[in-house]
Amino acid sequence: MKKQSINKAKLGAFVLIATTLLIVGLYYIGSKKNIFHSTINVSAEFNNVNGLVAGNNVRFNGINVGTIGKVYSSSDTTIKVDFTIDKSSTKYIFQNAIASIGTDGLLGNKLINISPGKGISKSVEEGSVFNTLNPIQMDNALRTLTLTNDNLKVITDNLKGVSEKFNNNNSLWHLLTDSVLAENVRNAVVRFKVTGDNTAVITGDLSKIVKDIKLGKGSVGALLTDTSFSHTLNQTIVNIHSISDSVAIISGNFKSISNNLKNGKGSVGTLLTDTMFVHNLNQSLLNVKEGAGNFNQDMIALRHSWPFKKYFKTQDKEKAKK
């Protein structure tokens, strides 16, 4: 048996490498847990923390900046959360920033999101207390959105019905030789078309708004939690709904008239000499015109109602740019 030579240098290298690996590893772990960073202690109060626990992350605009230290009840309705923030991140986090409870991904851990407040304020310092936004109840928001979507679907269905009715009755134009009547009808139809276009635009806008709300873009997202606004929105939609209902009724009448015409209840000549009928027809078309006018007005009113004002303005600006 040859005596194995022991190499102290090799042993030393092994020990040093292993120790270094341990130290580096612990440092990495520690740096994720903010143990080796200099931090400041801040806090925030919530009504509900949705299961936030010590050790969860604190994010500022999506970057990890700290860790939750302690979560405890500070009164019967408020939960106080103490957490740390990296000193290096404090420069851009102002005292008016808003802390809210969020979730990391769909199933992930709870965390605190810090989003910048409006305006300029001092940077956070040791002991700062953040303003908070109570967590958005996701199911409530979704419920409202569903209602809005349903309403919109009814509206577009109705509008589709109206335009189909018109499309299916092309022969009407040939039947009607009365130029005045034809002119009136044409005008009315043009009006309808305009109205329809407007409605389409508004529907588009509405769907965009809804999309934006879904994405929680800007203050509109926040507006959703404002119940009075959603009430207004609902009301508007109901109005739109009732307008299109009336339009449908009117065009239904119109259709029955033209069906009568088509089915040859009396000859066209007879029909046209019957002044009573013509008068009625005229009256009907006037009603339709008026109805469409009202609808247009409603839409214009909607454009000017305050929650959408800014939105439409920016839309117009964008259009202008194009």
């Binding site: 048996m1 040859k2 005596k3 194995q4």
Partner: protein
Amino acid sequence: MNENPTNTRPSVIQIKDLKKSFGENYVLRNFNVDLKEGENLVVLGKSGSGKSVLIKCIIGLMLPDSGSVQVFGDEVTDLSHDDLDSMRIKVGFLFQSNALYDSMTVRENLEFPLRRHWIKSEMTNVNDMVMEALTNVGLAETVDMTPAELSGGMRKRIALARTLILKPKIILYDEPTTGLDPITGKEISHLMLDIQKKYNTSSIIISHDMNCVKITANRIVVLIDGVCYATGTYDELSKSTDIRVKQFFD
């Protein structure tokens, strides 16, 4: 060679009424023997008759059940650990299987006994001591080899050198020629004798190899059934008519 000139000298080892048993098996019962200064005492006995146990009791590797073992007048069983160590500097032990450390070179093997003692002694040149001990056994050239590279006789010599390096006053040999061919056995026996003359040591030699016994023994103790059955010089015992003594000399 076979006369015993040491009867009048003082005893270095005195054993009285030594008893040692393993369970039901009594290997030593009331064993008495003295080792005089400068004497080569051979303990003769069959395998398993407790010869090795006897010298392990002397060196303190085993504790006797009862009786007294005195080395230089000190009771071995009463010695503290440190005193036992200093006693062991004066008493060398040559193991039957040599007990060379396989993982070390010859040099390290020889240096090993010095580890404990070199701090207190004036030994300044360890290398000189190693070479001196190796030269005494005639194997100075093997200093950087490992025990596995050596033959049985060489290993026995190295083991002897390791025992000698502390210059003990007493050397205990546990079957020094067992496992060696007769010629090598004789060489070892003569080496033991040379060393005894050179360093003026006293020895207890455990053996059943009659060649070795004949060469080395000043006095022989026959160990049978755990007691000192007979004692005398080689000549006296070889003429003995006792059947149990005689069997060793046939």
